[in-house]
Protein backbone atom coordinates (compact mmCIF):
# COMPACT_ATOMS: atom_id res chain seq x y z
CA UNK A 1 0.00 0.00 0.00
CA UNK A 2 1.18 3.53 -0.57
CA UNK A 3 0.35 7.15 0.13
CA UNK A 4 1.55 10.01 -2.08
CA UNK A 5 0.99 13.69 -1.31
CA UNK A 6 2.42 15.81 -4.07
CA UNK A 7 2.24 19.08 -6.00
CA UNK A 8 2.99 17.19 -9.25
CA UNK A 9 0.21 16.41 -11.73
CA UNK A 10 -0.45 12.69 -12.12
CA UNK A 11 -1.84 10.55 -14.94
CA UNK A 12 -4.94 8.63 -13.71
CA UNK A 13 -4.70 5.79 -16.24
CA UNK A 14 -0.95 5.33 -15.83
CA UNK A 15 -1.44 5.16 -12.05
CA UNK A 16 -4.18 2.55 -12.45
CA UNK A 17 -1.97 0.44 -14.71
CA UNK A 18 0.98 0.68 -12.31
CA UNK A 19 -1.34 -0.34 -9.48
CA UNK A 20 -2.79 -3.28 -11.44
CA UNK A 21 0.71 -4.48 -12.30
CA UNK A 22 0.98 -5.46 -8.62
CA UNK A 23 -2.07 -7.71 -9.02
CA UNK A 24 -1.48 -11.02 -7.28
CA UNK A 25 -4.29 -13.04 -8.73
CA UNK A 26 -6.81 -10.61 -7.25
CA UNK A 27 -10.06 -10.34 -9.11
CA UNK A 28 -11.35 -6.82 -8.50
CA UNK A 29 -9.84 -3.35 -8.73
CA UNK A 30 -11.57 -0.02 -8.11
CA UNK A 31 -10.13 3.36 -9.05
CA UNK A 32 -11.77 6.54 -7.86
CA UNK A 33 -10.57 9.76 -9.51
CA UNK A 34 -11.62 13.12 -8.12
CA UNK A 35 -11.36 15.90 -10.70
CA UNK A 36 -11.58 19.67 -10.46
CA UNK A 37 -15.28 20.32 -10.97
CA UNK A 38 -16.65 23.26 -12.94
CA UNK A 39 -20.33 23.55 -13.76
CA UNK A 40 -21.45 25.57 -16.78
CA UNK A 41 -23.82 27.60 -14.56
CA UNK A 42 -21.09 28.25 -11.97
CA UNK A 43 -17.72 27.99 -13.71
CA UNK A 44 -14.47 28.28 -11.81
CA UNK A 45 -11.11 29.40 -13.18
CA UNK A 46 -8.95 27.34 -10.87
CA UNK A 47 -8.92 25.38 -7.65
CA UNK A 48 -6.10 25.71 -5.16
CA UNK A 49 -5.57 23.06 -2.52
CA UNK A 50 -3.61 24.02 0.52
CA UNK A 51 -2.04 21.13 2.44
CA UNK A 52 -0.23 20.32 5.66
CA UNK A 53 1.90 17.52 4.19
CA UNK A 54 3.33 16.02 7.41
CA UNK A 55 -0.14 15.64 8.89
CA UNK A 56 -1.60 14.47 5.57
CA UNK A 57 0.88 11.62 5.32
CA UNK A 58 0.21 10.59 8.93
CA UNK A 59 -3.57 10.73 8.52
CA UNK A 60 -3.64 8.93 5.18
CA UNK A 61 -1.26 6.23 6.42
CA UNK A 62 -3.50 5.43 9.41
CA UNK A 63 -6.52 5.50 7.12
CA UNK A 64 -5.04 3.14 4.54
CA UNK A 65 -3.94 0.67 7.25
CA UNK A 66 -7.48 0.71 8.61
CA UNK A 67 -8.98 0.12 5.14
CA UNK A 68 -6.56 -2.73 4.35
CA UNK A 69 -7.49 -4.53 7.57
CA UNK A 70 -11.19 -3.75 7.58
CA UNK A 71 -11.91 -4.79 3.99
CA UNK A 72 -9.13 -7.39 3.67
CA UNK A 73 -7.69 -5.55 0.70
CA UNK A 74 -4.76 -6.97 -1.21
CA UNK A 75 -3.47 -3.48 -2.00
CA UNK A 76 -4.52 0.15 -1.69
CA UNK A 77 -3.05 3.43 -2.86
CA UNK A 78 -3.95 7.07 -2.23
CA UNK A 79 -2.54 9.87 -4.38
CA UNK A 80 -3.50 13.41 -3.35
CA UNK A 81 -2.33 16.47 -5.16
CA UNK A 82 -2.15 20.04 -3.84
CA UNK A 83 -1.36 23.43 -5.31
CA UNK A 84 -3.31 25.15 -8.09
CA UNK A 85 -5.26 23.16 -10.70
CA UNK A 86 -7.68 23.88 -13.54
CA UNK A 87 -11.09 22.27 -14.24
CA UNK A 88 -10.84 18.63 -15.27
CA UNK A 89 -7.44 18.05 -13.65
CA UNK A 90 -7.20 15.09 -11.27
CA UNK A 91 -6.93 16.08 -7.59
CA UNK A 92 -7.11 12.75 -5.87
CA UNK A 93 -7.03 9.08 -6.79
CA UNK A 94 -7.81 6.13 -4.57
CA UNK A 95 -7.21 2.56 -5.77
CA UNK A 96 -8.11 -0.73 -4.12
CA UNK A 97 -7.47 -4.35 -5.04
CA UNK A 98 -9.42 -7.23 -3.49
CA UNK A 99 -10.47 -10.80 -4.27
CA UNK A 100 -14.08 -9.68 -4.85
CA UNK A 101 -15.77 -6.51 -6.00
CA UNK A 102 -17.75 -5.75 -2.83
CA UNK A 103 -14.56 -5.30 -0.78
CA UNK A 104 -12.82 -3.28 -3.50
CA UNK A 105 -15.80 -0.90 -3.79
CA UNK A 106 -16.29 -0.58 -0.02
CA UNK A 107 -12.58 0.03 0.57
CA UNK A 108 -12.44 2.81 -2.01
CA UNK A 109 -15.60 4.46 -0.68
CA UNK A 110 -14.34 4.25 2.90
CA UNK A 111 -11.03 5.89 1.91
CA UNK A 112 -12.79 8.70 0.05
CA UNK A 113 -15.31 9.33 2.81
CA UNK A 114 -12.59 9.73 5.46
CA UNK A 115 -10.30 11.63 3.17
CA UNK A 116 -12.96 14.32 2.64
CA UNK A 117 -13.20 15.16 6.33
CA UNK A 118 -9.96 13.91 7.90
CA UNK A 119 -7.15 14.76 5.51
CA UNK A 120 -5.60 18.23 5.98
CA UNK A 121 -6.39 19.81 2.63
CA UNK A 122 -8.34 23.02 2.14
CA UNK A 123 -9.92 24.06 -1.15
CA UNK A 124 -9.91 27.62 -2.46
CA UNK A 125 -12.08 28.14 -5.55
CA UNK A 126 -11.18 30.98 -7.88
CA UNK A 127 -13.71 32.38 -10.36
CA UNK A 128 -13.93 35.70 -12.19
CA UNK A 129 -15.80 36.94 -9.10
CA UNK A 130 -12.87 36.21 -6.76
CA UNK A 131 -11.63 33.44 -4.49
CA UNK A 132 -13.59 31.63 -1.78
CA UNK A 133 -12.70 28.85 0.65
CA UNK A 134 -14.93 25.84 0.06
CA UNK A 135 -17.08 25.05 3.10
CA UNK A 136 -17.21 21.48 4.39
CA UNK A 137 -20.27 19.62 3.06
CA UNK A 138 -22.74 18.24 5.59
CA UNK A 139 -23.16 15.11 3.48
CA UNK A 140 -19.41 14.50 3.73
CA UNK A 141 -19.84 14.25 7.49
CA UNK A 142 -22.76 11.87 7.13
CA UNK A 143 -20.89 9.79 4.53
CA UNK A 144 -18.03 9.42 7.01
CA UNK A 145 -20.40 8.70 9.89
CA UNK A 146 -21.75 5.54 8.28
CA UNK A 147 -18.38 3.80 8.82
CA UNK A 148 -18.11 5.00 12.41
CA UNK A 149 -16.92 2.42 14.93
CA UNK A 150 -14.99 2.74 18.15
CA UNK A 151 -11.85 1.50 16.41
CA UNK A 152 -11.88 4.56 14.19
CA UNK A 153 -12.46 7.19 16.84
CA UNK A 154 -8.77 8.01 16.86
CA UNK A 155 -8.54 8.93 13.19
Amino acid sequence: MSVRVTTEAFDPGAETNAFLAGDQGAGAAVTFSGLVRSRPDDPITSLTLECYPDLAINQLSVLIDEAMARFELIAATIIHRYGTMTPGEPIVQVMTLAPHRAAAFAGAQFLMDYLKTDAPFWKLETSPAGSVWVAPRDDDDSARARWEEPALASI
Binding site: L49, L115, W122
Partner: protein, 83 residues
Protein backbone atom coordinates in the same frame (compact mmCIF):
# COMPACT_ATOMS: atom_id res chain seq x y z
CA UNK B 1 7.45 26.15 19.89
CA UNK B 2 6.44 26.61 16.27
CA UNK B 3 2.82 27.42 15.44
CA UNK B 4 1.39 26.73 11.95
CA UNK B 5 -1.77 28.21 10.44
CA UNK B 6 -3.63 27.01 7.35
CA UNK B 7 -6.35 28.14 4.93
CA UNK B 8 -8.58 31.05 6.00
CA UNK B 9 -7.00 31.08 9.44
CA UNK B 10 -3.61 31.70 7.83
CA UNK B 11 -5.12 34.41 5.61
CA UNK B 12 -6.87 36.19 8.48
CA UNK B 13 -3.69 36.19 10.59
CA UNK B 14 -1.59 37.15 7.60
CA UNK B 15 1.06 34.58 8.52
CA UNK B 16 1.56 30.86 8.02
CA UNK B 17 3.77 30.27 11.02
CA UNK B 18 5.38 31.88 14.03
CA UNK B 19 7.60 31.00 16.97
CA UNK B 20 6.12 31.41 20.44
CA UNK B 21 7.25 30.69 24.00
CA UNK B 22 4.17 30.19 26.16
CA UNK B 23 4.63 30.02 29.95
CA UNK B 24 4.43 26.64 31.72
CA UNK B 25 0.86 27.40 32.80
CA UNK B 26 -0.18 26.83 29.16
CA UNK B 27 -0.69 23.07 29.45
CA UNK B 28 -3.11 22.06 26.69
CA UNK B 29 -4.02 23.02 23.13
CA UNK B 30 -7.04 24.88 24.53
CA UNK B 31 -4.78 26.81 26.93
CA UNK B 32 -2.53 27.69 24.00
CA UNK B 33 -5.49 29.02 21.98
CA UNK B 34 -6.54 31.17 24.97
CA UNK B 35 -2.99 32.41 25.48
CA UNK B 36 -2.54 33.28 21.78
CA UNK B 37 -5.95 35.02 21.76
CA UNK B 38 -4.91 37.09 24.78
CA UNK B 39 -1.93 38.56 22.96
CA UNK B 40 -3.44 39.09 19.50
CA UNK B 41 -6.87 40.51 18.73
CA UNK B 42 -6.88 39.18 15.14
CA UNK B 43 -6.29 35.68 16.49
CA UNK B 44 -8.99 36.12 19.16
CA UNK B 45 -11.53 37.10 16.48
CA UNK B 46 -10.50 34.32 14.08
CA UNK B 47 -10.88 31.59 16.73
CA UNK B 48 -13.97 33.07 18.40
CA UNK B 49 -15.94 30.02 17.36
CA UNK B 50 -13.65 27.35 18.84
CA UNK B 51 -15.63 24.48 17.29
CA UNK B 52 -14.40 25.64 13.86
CA UNK B 53 -10.76 25.28 14.83
CA UNK B 54 -8.96 21.96 14.43
CA UNK B 55 -5.53 21.32 15.88
CA UNK B 56 -2.53 19.07 15.43
CA UNK B 57 0.42 18.53 17.75
CA UNK B 58 3.62 17.34 16.09
CA UNK B 59 1.67 16.37 12.95
CA UNK B 60 -0.99 14.37 14.80
CA UNK B 61 -4.61 15.48 14.75
CA UNK B 62 -5.69 16.01 18.37
CA UNK B 63 -8.64 17.34 20.40
CA UNK B 64 -8.23 20.67 22.21
CA UNK B 65 -7.75 19.06 25.64
CA UNK B 66 -4.47 17.45 24.52
CA UNK B 67 -1.35 18.37 26.58
CA UNK B 68 1.36 20.26 24.67
CA UNK B 69 4.29 19.63 27.03
CA UNK B 70 7.35 18.86 24.89
CA UNK B 71 5.60 19.63 21.59
CA UNK B 72 7.71 21.22 18.84
CA UNK B 73 4.96 22.10 16.34
CA UNK B 74 1.31 22.96 16.99
CA UNK B 75 -0.96 23.60 13.99
CA UNK B 76 -4.34 25.32 13.83
CA UNK B 77 -6.71 25.12 10.88
CA UNK B 78 -10.37 25.12 9.78
CA UNK B 79 -12.36 21.91 9.10
CA UNK B 80 -10.66 19.98 6.30
CA UNK B 81 -12.04 19.77 2.77
CA UNK B 82 -9.87 17.15 1.07
CA UNK B 83 -10.66 14.75 -1.73
Amino acid sequence: MKILYFAWLRERLNRGEEQVSPPDSVATVADLIDWLAGRDEAFALAVAKRSLIRSAVDAKLVPHDTPIAGASVVAFFPPMTGG
